[in-house]
Symmetry: C2
Subunit: 391 residues, 2 copies
């Protein structure tokens, strides 16, 4: 396969934002084009989950292309739930590898804060199995809570460990001007003092408010390019040196072991194999921490720590910036925010900035090889990527 | 680019159907797999527009893969409005061309008749431009009606010509066991007798009920394969020898000429160029006749007839089976039906059956090269394909 590099990045801040979906996606796209010094591309791939349901716009890739003045460019929309961003990047990589295109703009975006929490919970719940889960009222927080309960029982993970993920990621987000949440929290402040728990209510036991990512608006864009042309657009192209994807049995209760993220494991293994590296070679990773427990579980199933030992690594500070395996320096979904279609693309951007040495106060020193994984549903359709500096 | 062939086809009948979206897609997928003699593929690409909005299922590609027993296969969903089918085929072709996969199942499906006409009209209207059209209440029938009005004034197209498209396509559908509409109609029966017009009321003047495609449920699947492996799975592989895509300015009133389907023109030209053929070489075509006027306009802008002369060719019987340029032998969207995500795939299937000589009573004799075009929005994002017998 023909190699592909990332030569431009741009995003909006994540949060409760005023611009429309199309405006957010236009802004992030222009920033990425500007970063690459391009004013047009051969194709546009949009990652989005809710444009029809939440924003009444089904031809969002065409609308974006028109808004960017790129008519009659080829334009596609990829929908893979919360892994739409990862899927769009993968499909764009394949499209360049096919030889049809040399440059592609991938833009993920979501405008979620246009409706009630009830509608949004229903919207997100559509990722569950329709007959076995959705119609019985299961939600993603409920699935994550049962998962956390099993993890606590089996591996001795404590409520405090979950909180430590949130504390670390809030701390990192304070160094990321694009992050939705800009708030320092502490164990005392959200858990240990009885009165502080009032501000951190249970969402689905044992998960509390600070164990869940926020609902965000936002957009993120990257420019992909065939490796032969990468130096035309960037002095520091970042190679997508491996990727993988796998799906898991849809209904969680039918899985072989409900606390092994098998699709994530397989997708990561494929990505490492294609990139010819091992988890030990990774300098920085962005994981899909929609719930705090997921960062712990993913850090194990991606191969960074032994199963059941992710919470110990966390406790020892190994996953902090400055630790030996920094995870979610951006703040992750937990604190950078989670505009669902944008997330997979934002993960790629954080890794690019880290590998370029452009991550400012949250820079992981000397990072050369990065990893991200993007999680659709409850580990149902997972994409993983390995990135490497192009020099 | 590596060449790609279609080695298996299967679909459900289109219509008001009892099975769920997932069941419909599973049935058509199994039929296509069976046709190719395969029990698994390297990846699944799903084409769908309304699974979240209408059916509360966002990870529909994963659900299908699970239902087919293909976990942990790669699975993607492509959403391009009514052109989702064409976009899924195109992305699958690129994915095979990249070298990552050898075999892909492309399944388009839609379960629309689960809600009211009002909700469905709104759902389809999301393909219009949000700020310039949608929020002012414009619908697709309204856009098609204005388009028809201009066509009538400029080219002398009459109400009777529109009806002739419907009559031809209903006639063809009577020979297609998969078609939604199985009803012979005549000029007298739907237009000329005053009392018959009561059964053919105006939807958006000048378009009447029989000028509009029905709302259908249904699914359609094809198996794509690298050309080197095609003979393993089929004695009569059909090559995708060219394809094209283009978008047009989103808001119809901002287009250079609102009755030229520029995106369709460009997409068709790209497809012909890649296939190294001209419109004159095409033996059979499936066009996107969501409204009768569109078949006439598309037959011109795809290059089969001069602009303004499509209605004359229709009048002379040239577009019937047996004519020199048969269009929509399947019955088209008008009579085979239009489950939106399935349509682009069903078009490909009809061409494959025609080129294999398997189209039964609607066979176009000696067909060797076929064409289809799939239309997203009101000509906003269009895909075109040229197909050829593999021998």
């Amino acid at each position: 396969m023909r190699d592909v590099a990332i030569v431009g990045c741009g995003m909006t801040r994540f949060g409760r934002l005023e611009p429309s979906l199309l405006e957010l996606m236009t802004i992030s796209s222009l920033r990425a084009l500007d970063d690459a010094g391009l004013d047009k591309v051969d194709a546009i791939y949009v990652a989005n989950m809710g444009s029809i349901t939440l924003n009444k716009q089904s031809l969002i890739a065409s609308a974006l292309a028109d808004s960017l003045g790129m008519v009659p460019v080829h334009a596609e929309t990829i929908q893979n739930g919360t892994a739409s961003g990862g899927s769009a990047i993968k499909n764009a990589v394949l499209a360049i590898a096919s030889g049809l295109y040399d440059t592609i703009l991938v833009t993920g975006g979501e405008k979620m804060r246009v409706t009630t929490d009830r509608v949004l919970t229903d919207f997100i719940s559509t990722m569950s199995h329709f007959e076995a889960e959705y119609i019985h009222g299961i939600t993603l927080p409920a699935l994550a809570a049962m998962f956390a309960r099993l993890y606590m029982r089996k591996f001795g993970v404590k409520q405090e460990h979950l909180a430590m993920v949130a504390i670390k990621n809030h701390e990192n987000a304070l160094k990321n001007p694009y992050a939705h949440i800009q708030q320092k929290i502490s164990l005392e402040g959200i858990l240990l003092r009885p009165e502080s728990r009032l501000n951190n209510p249970i969402i689905s036991s044992p998960l509390r408010l600070y164990d869940c990512c926020p609902t965000s608006d936002g957009a993120a864009s990257i420019i992909l390019c065939s490796v032969e042309k990468a130096r035309e657009f960037s002095d520091t192209p970042i190679m997508i040196s491996g990727f993988g994807q796998a799906i898991e049995v849809h209904a969680v209760h039918e899985r072989e072991d409900p606390i092994v993220l098998k699709a994530l494991k397989l997708a990561s293994e494929q990505a490492f194999k294609m990139a010819k590296v091992s988890p030990n070679d990774i300098d920085v990773a962005e994981l899909h921490d929609a719930f705090t427990i997921l960062e712990i579980a993913e850090s194990e199933d991606a191969g960074f720590f032994k199963k059941g030992e992710g919470h110990k690594a966390l406790e020892e500070g190994r996953t902090q910036i400055g630790g030996d395996m920094p995870i979610n320096p951006s703040g992750g979904l937990k604190a950078r925010g989670h505009p669902v279609g944008a997330t997979g693309v934002a993960q790629a951007i954080e890794i690019v900035w880290q590998l370029r040495g452009d991550a400012g106060k949250r820079q992981v020193e000397g990072a050369e090889i990065g990893f991200s994984c993007n999680f659709g549903g409850f580990g149902t359709n997972v994409l993983a990527f390995v990135y490497r500096r192009g020099d």
